[in-house]
Symmetry: C2
Subunit: 309 residues, 2 copies
Amino acid sequence: MKIVALAGGVGASKLLDGLRYAMDPRDLSIVVNTGDDIEMFGLYISPDIDIVTYTLAGEVNPAMGWGIKDDTFHCLEYLLRYTGGERWFNLGDRDLATHIFRTSLLRSGRKLSESADLIRRTLNVESRIIPMTDSHTPTTIITDEGDLHFQEYLVRRRAQPKVLGIRFENIESAYPAPGVAESILDADAVIICPSNPLISTGPILAVPGIRDLLKETRARVIGISPVVGGASLKGPTDKMMADLGMEVSAAQVAKSFSDFLDTYIIDYQDEFDATEIESLGIKVVVADTVMSNAEKKLALAQTTLKALS
Amino acid sequence: MKIVALAGGVGASKLLDGLRYAMDPRDLSIVVNTGDDIEMFGLYISPDIDIVTYTLAGEVNPAMGWGIKDDTFHCLEYLLRYTGGERWFNLGDRDLATHIFRTSLLRSGRKLSESADLIRRTLNVESRIIPMTDSHTPTTIITDEGDLHFQEYLVRRRAQPKVLGIRFENIESAYPAPGVAESILDADAVIICPSNPLISTGPILAVPGIRDLLKETRARVIGISPVVGGASLKGPTDKMMADLGMEVSAAQVAKSFSDFLDTYIIDYQDEFDATEIESLGIKVVVADTVMSNAEKKLALAQTTLKALS
């Protein structure tokens, strides 16, 4: 069974970390959000691609869910001497190798998708990792304190400003990266990982063409709710949804995907949402979606695959 | 007394390390060789500028004479996973901060001279550090194994190929960096540091205009021989001179500077060269020029200043 997963960062990677044991990883292609991408110190940083890649390589820092395990931060400390800024974004010494290598590839004319492929192959990741687009489409969070790059909003300002809106810069002129359309059309199933629907899955679906591909594909499309019991397990999904006047519920997220979703996995805590989701023509599977350890990651991955069979 | 020093890397930095205690470092400007500059992993590396800067900042690795003390090499190890090459050039994690910062300045349109100034100011170096030129004029060593970038010849191939010639790429279209001419014309003295005359002092003198400035300036010009007892204390000076059919002697080096040199400091071991050098109209000072510890660095710096007074 050929599977495409649409993924953000940490939340998605937990499921992917389960999937790599639950299926042949060579049959998995992952289309990754690049709205979080940011240039710092002249280096092109692609946080979600790195999180997914490091996770599947078994190199991710398990405590954080991002960065490389046992990394040091000597270069960053010295960089901040030069630039004089506060340390709001952590870049480990080993992690920096990825950013330096990617940046040098991009400067020499290679595409982001080529760099992502070279990097995952070097790290012996068997699944294909594809950025949603090769264009730079940074996510801007419109807040009561002004427009902020998503990383500034999330990391520097710790998601404190009130969200008034979200803008994906240059998205209207972006194309899906090579491999995105083919993967989705060839797939037997598409998994919408439990990522922030606004700023992880949202940018992917906003790339012109991708949403239509999900409607057109013969693949079954299954999603896993990132909202459990009215809150996001990690990250600012719940706060952002609330700021924007949205109901913070699994049903609300399912609704936003109702034009292409066949099946939605919600947590036991959200069983009462099932009727509302089913009324949209979406099949509901209820499961334990809180992936707090390796066994639970694998179990949810198996549940997902079973729902597709 | 305002002093300009022309400097290569490790040899020059020993004298400069003495000079910063022997004089007011604010009265010292250092014009540094950039022929060794090289781009690696998309980063612009300026080895001699960094050696001089780190030395004057008190941060240099004292065992090597280059790099930052107590540095780690985690990023480089991971970079080599991506690029697959051998590790022939060491770039420490802290050191990389300098290269990343410099590269980002250059990419944003700043000049190498501006980056050198920002970096030395950040590291609280009071002496001015000026690259010989803002142009990229890499030194090519023509060898019996083909043309090699100087760093490849010296570091990767450990100066083993036979040197047939030396070429400073693009040097004919280079200009002295801002501050070079003014410093030399305003100086009371110019010190030619004990650097490799072929590939450290040589590129500086090859920048159109600089040699003429040394002839025109009212400043006394004093040099310290990098050749002691028929050999270079460090580096491939002696082997390169021999390969090129030159006599490996203090007198030979003095001769190559005879059009602008007023005084030359040679080692006690080379006293017999004094007559030949004096016959060129150059005053000779004989001293202990082997700077094997901090006291000897300071002593040679004081000898140099005394010869100028």
